[in-house]
């Protein structure tokens, strides 16, 4: 019944719109003028001047028309292009060649070769013959002007890019300064120069670590980059071979002393270096302490929470961020499981109502939890 009502409604609407839209079908127009004649001549047009404009071997410049045609009687081959009316024109200056290509046995091609004696098609696996076609700008002022030239897009984006680069550089310098200040807590270096080198090294390692490299890889690549710079200096003859060797051995020893004293923690802050074995034993001890500290399914206090966080973030334990997260999930659950004493039978003033779907009964259930079930 319901659907029949809808259908009738639709029909009514459709009828209405038809009757309104097509009133003119009731008007009749009779013919008042004779229809046109049936003569078939007078259809001829002037010749379209088709055909080759350049013949085999003739020289052409870029853009010159080689052939006008209807349809692709000829296809564009090497260094030739085709227009929207299938006109074939030269893309490179050279000499016109009409040829067949065994790759397309049913087609005829027109191409342009760069040297007069060349034949088309070129051997398939040979390097292409290309024309450079530019002049060297010899006048220094003109060359300078050409180098200075900026496209519209470049001139629009360049200031923004430079600003971004400047900001990044400033941030880097600030971080470098910070690292240099903190450096003296962990390692004694005599000269200012060595301090700068060490701080630069730490900055690089920091960047690599933030990019996702392991500590070992970060250290290796930092050393490698510095040694590569020294090698380039040698290549530029800025330093002698002897100086180069000295500098690289000096950097290597510095790197060793820095690496054996300083490392980064999970938050990219400096901390004293610990061997993997120490870290492992520290972590085991920390987990044992956590086990002792946190009793399962018992209400947690604020102090307990802070203690756990202190253990997780301690620089002695060197937990990685993912380890910290996993431990936090294990020891500081946001909501404790529904065990006796942590579920209320009736709604209370301070209780929190949690609605959830029971997939077995397909019903929504409400559970009342006391404040103690949650993390303070």
């Amino acid at each position: 019944m319901f659907s029949s009502r809808i259908v009738s409604l639709v029909c009514n609407r459709v009828k209405t719109s038809l009757s309104v839209g097509h009133q003119s079908i009731f008007q009749v127009r009779t013919a008042t003028k004779r229809a046109g004649g049936s003569r078939t001549h007078m259809k001829d047009s002037a010749g379209r001047r088709l055909g080759p404009k350049k013949h085999e071997g003739e020289s052409v410049e870029v853009g010159e028309i080689i052939m006008r045609q209807r349809g692709t009687k000829w296809y564009p081959g090497e260094n030739a292009g085709i227009g929207k009316d299938h006109t074939i024109f030269a893309l490179e200056p050279g000499f016109v060649r009409y040829y067949l290509d065994p790759f397309h046995p049913k087609r005829k091609f027109i191409g342009v070769v760069l040297r007069e004696g060349d034949k088309l098609p070129y051997p398939h696996f040979d390097p292409r013959k290309r024309r450079f076609g530019r002049f060297l700008i010899k006048k220094p002022e003109a060359a300078e002007a050409e180098l200075e030239f900026q496209s519209r897009k470049e001139s629009q984006t360049l200031p923004e890019l430079l600003k971004g680069a400047e900001e990044r550089q400033q941030k880097r310098e600030a971080r470098l300064f910070e690292l240099k200040e903190q450096l003296s807590q962990f390692i004694e270096l005599e000269s200012e120069e060595l301090k700068n080198l060490a701080a630069g090294r730490l900055l690089q390692i920091d960047r690599f670590l933030r990019g996702g490299k392991s500590q070992e890889d970060a250290r290796f690549h930092t050393t490698y980059n510095h040694l590569y710079d020294l090698k380039l200096q040698l290549r530029r003859n800025e330093i002698s071979q002897e100086q180069h060797d000295n500098l690289s051995s000096q950097y290597k020893s510095l790197a060793e002393s820095v690496d054996s004293n300083i490392m980064f923690d999970a938050f990219f802050d400096l901390c004293a270096y610990k061997t993997p074995e120490t870290i492992k034993s520290n972590q085991e001890a920390a987990i044992a302490e956590l086990d002792k500290l946190v009793i399962p399914n018992q209400p947690r206090t604020k102090e307990l929470k802070e203690q756990v966080f202190a253990i997780l973030k301690s620089q002695d334990n060197c937990f990685t961020l993912s380890q910290q997260l996993a431990l936090k999930r294990k020891y500081l659950k946001p909501v404790l499981p529904e065990v006796d004493g942590l579920v209320l039978d009736k709604p209370d003033k301070k209780a929190v109502a949690i609605t959830k779907i029971n997939y077995d009964t397909r019903r929504i259930e409400t559970v009342y939890r006391p404040k103690e079930a949650f993390l303070p």
Binding site: R128, R134, F220
Partner: protein, 348 residues
């Protein structure tokens, strides 16, 4: 209760890397149903909501049994192969693939753990090759052909290995897709390459050439090829497939032509930088240290050294505002400047 009663749960003759390392996943794949729920689903809600396929728990053990039985037959066929036949290694690899191809654990790893597969196992190499052929290989060939790296550098290529490329320009590692336009800042340091072999490989020697076929040659009004980087006699295997700074630092003789970044001159267009990876028959003899870079004849070089091209990669670079800095860094003279427009007629 495990559905496996045969070879697929025995690791005396088979490699332990053919088994899933995650215990929960392994039990899920080796039991008819999902005893501890869907392990691969992450959130608790979706785990609770999830419903397995009806009847799968009844049919899966049967299917497993059928496939395991066939695998057992193939393994016994491998044992009966003639070890002195010249095609023994080939036949054995083929049969080993057939024996493990349908093992659910292997299928799982090949589908979802592509980055940590043990490439010494033929079956994993088979799956890796299939994924490579499905996309990366086709993409590479398309880029090489449309950019005319073939035939401008070498006549043609039938890729046998996957070549991955990355530059250490910033602190992140990212593989570069063939044909990408890179700035001079990115290419200023030597890149790292990964050469992934799909055949069994233990210590094959490889050569890598980095060439720029778009260096202007004013005398001929054409282009010439420049050798930018040459590395030879790099030992790679299925387990160790990287050509990077670490490896080159350990074996300094490998680098026979030192790295020179592509420094394009103004108005010379986009330069294609082709990386060619070759397999060597033996140590390379006709590649002296400090080979001349300019007017490098790559075809001649390949012929002289009897190299087999097995893989390639291509990037593109352009003159930019940083190019002059890179030139200074490498102690090169200032770059030339050419006219912006190409002349529409022949110069001579």
């Amino acid at each position: 209760m495990s559905v496996s009663k045969g070879v697929w749960s025995k690791f005396v003759k088979r490699s332990p890397t053919l088994a899933l390392r995650n215990k929960a996943l392994r039990t899920a794949l080796l039991s008819p149903d999902l005893p501890s729920g869907p392990v691969s689903l992450k959130s608790k809600a979706s785990k609770r909501k999830y419903q397995s396929i009806e009847g799968l728990d009844q049919i899966y053990p049967l299917a497993y049994e059928v496939l395991e039985k066939r695998s057992e037959d193939i393994y016994s066929k491998i044992e009966s192969l003639d070890k002195n036949s010249p095609t023994y290694a080939e036949q054995k690899e083929e049969l080993e693939i057939a024996a493990e191809k349908f093992n659910p654990e292997v299928v799982y790893m090949a589908e979802y753990m592509k980055n940590s597969l043990d490439r010494t196992q033929p079956v994993f190499r088979h799956y890796l090759k299939k994924t490579w052929e499905g996309y990366s290989k086709m993409l590479l060939m398309q880029r090489l052909e449309t950019l005319a790296v073939i035939p401008d550098t070498l006549p043609t290529l039938e890729p046998k290995v996957e070549v991955k490329l990355k530059f250490p320009h910033n602190n992140q590692d990212r593989w570069i897709e063939p044909g990408t336009l890179l700035s001079s800042n990115v290419t200023k340091m030597p890149p790292s390459l990964e050469v992934i072999e799909f055949k069994e490989s233990t210590g094959d020697l490889y050569t890598v050439l980095m060439v720029d076929p778009d260096t202007p040659d004013l005398a001929q009004d054409s282009y010439s090829t420049t050798l930018l980087w040459g590395v030879k006699d790099v030992k790679l295997s299925n387990t160790d497939s990287m050509i990077d700074a670490k490896k080159l630092m350990q074996n300094e003789d490998c680098e026979f032509v030192e790295y020179l970044p592509p420094v394009c001159e103004k108005n010379t267009g986009k330069h294609r930088i082709a990386f060619w990876v070759f397999r060597q028959d033996g140590p390379l003899e006709n590649a002296p240290k400090g080979l001349r870079r300019e007017f490098f004849k790559i075809r001649q070089f390949v012929e002289d050294n009897k190299l087999t091209p097995v893989g390639a990669h291509v990037i593109r670079t352009l003159w930019d505002r940083n190019t002059e800095n890179v030139r200074k860094m490498y102690g090169l003279p200032e770059g030339r400047v050419f006219t912006r427009e190409r002349v529409p007629y022949l110069k001579n």
